[in-house]
Amino acid sequence: MTTDCERAQQSLLDGAPASDPAVREHIAVCSRCDAVIRTFDEISATARELRGTWESPELWQRIESSIRTEVAGTRAATGRLRRWHDPRVWQIAAAFVLVIGIGAVAMRVATTSPDGEEYDRWLLRESALQEVEKSEKAYMQSIDRLSSLVEPAMDDASTPLAIAYREKLMLLDSAIAECQAAIDANRQNAHLRHQLLAVYREKNRTLQDLVREEANDQQITAESDSAVSQH
């Protein structure tokens, strides 16, 4: 391709090949460029005939109808939205929610009747709780008995061991009080119940140790007294 051919092609890009005299001269002598430009012109001439016109008597009615339907739909949607701003709608909705809520509660009560599976689970939980409370009671009775035995010794604790025991019992009492306060707020909390039982167990063991120590002391004192009297 020569420079003149390139120039002719360039003029095609600009859309006016025949207006440039130099290009016109080149086309006259270059059959290749002449053929290209002729084809371009032929295509353009044919393209101008492609403009489609035909009668469509119903098209406007179709367009108008579809727009009207769309507008009506939009207005209905807007109207529905506007209706939500009416306080009466909210009152009705609130009443509706209330009725539904009551219904749901009633339904739940009905489905969790003693015949239901839920009731069985509840019963199991309740019986386990009763067992725990029974154990607690047993520990408390034992603790009461032991406490009555060690009480005089604790009141006038003077030895380091007795003082240590008394402090330990005070700590355990304080832990028991905390656990009981928490259990009062949530009776079915298994973890708290477990902790309380553990503290009771510890207090019971401590009191038993204390009673044992007390007995040993008394025995030692008695043996000592008898030895003194024999002498």
Binding site: R48, E49, L50, T53, W60
Partner: protein
Amino acid sequence: MRESATAILSYGHFVTDASHVSMRSSAAQSDDARMAEACARGDSAAFEEIYRRHGERMKSVAFNHLGTTADAEDAVQEAFLKIHRGASSWNGEASFSTWIYRILINTCYDMLRKRKRRPDEAPIELLPEEGNASRPVDTSMRLTLRKLLGRLPEQRRSVFLLFEVEGLSHAEIGAILGIREGHSKWLLFTAKQELQKLWRMSTREVTP
């Protein structure tokens, strides 16, 4: 002869020159804004006005993109619905009429993509008046060109149709397709180069 850009896209109070979008007069801009507002409201008179002024050209553009009058009418109807839905978001960057043609062409692209067939495989419909022997260009040539246009990529085909068939300027085409004026020229040139090759081949096949 090529019609002037203003004459093609602008009629009556739609008068705008898309080649000078930024220089559009304030009167034209306010007219466009009023028209957009009316379309957003669903004002039937506004749509009727658009149809009266642009309907024929819209049908032609759609027909040359889609190949059948039924599809073209469906595309025009769909474009009008999209104009109603989108008129409130028209921002005035391009003239309202330019925006209308942009919507139409995008609607045609959507319809072409929904088709299973490629555009060149779709049946080519002959318009009633095309059978008229008194027309300057042979019917077979028109059908050949229509078929060859189906082989072009969509943007090149649109540029060719808007420039060569509908007579729009490159500035207007650029505004409609969202491309630069120079790019529009380049796309037309490449479209014609491609068509030229195909045209020669097809005419060689036809010629005994």
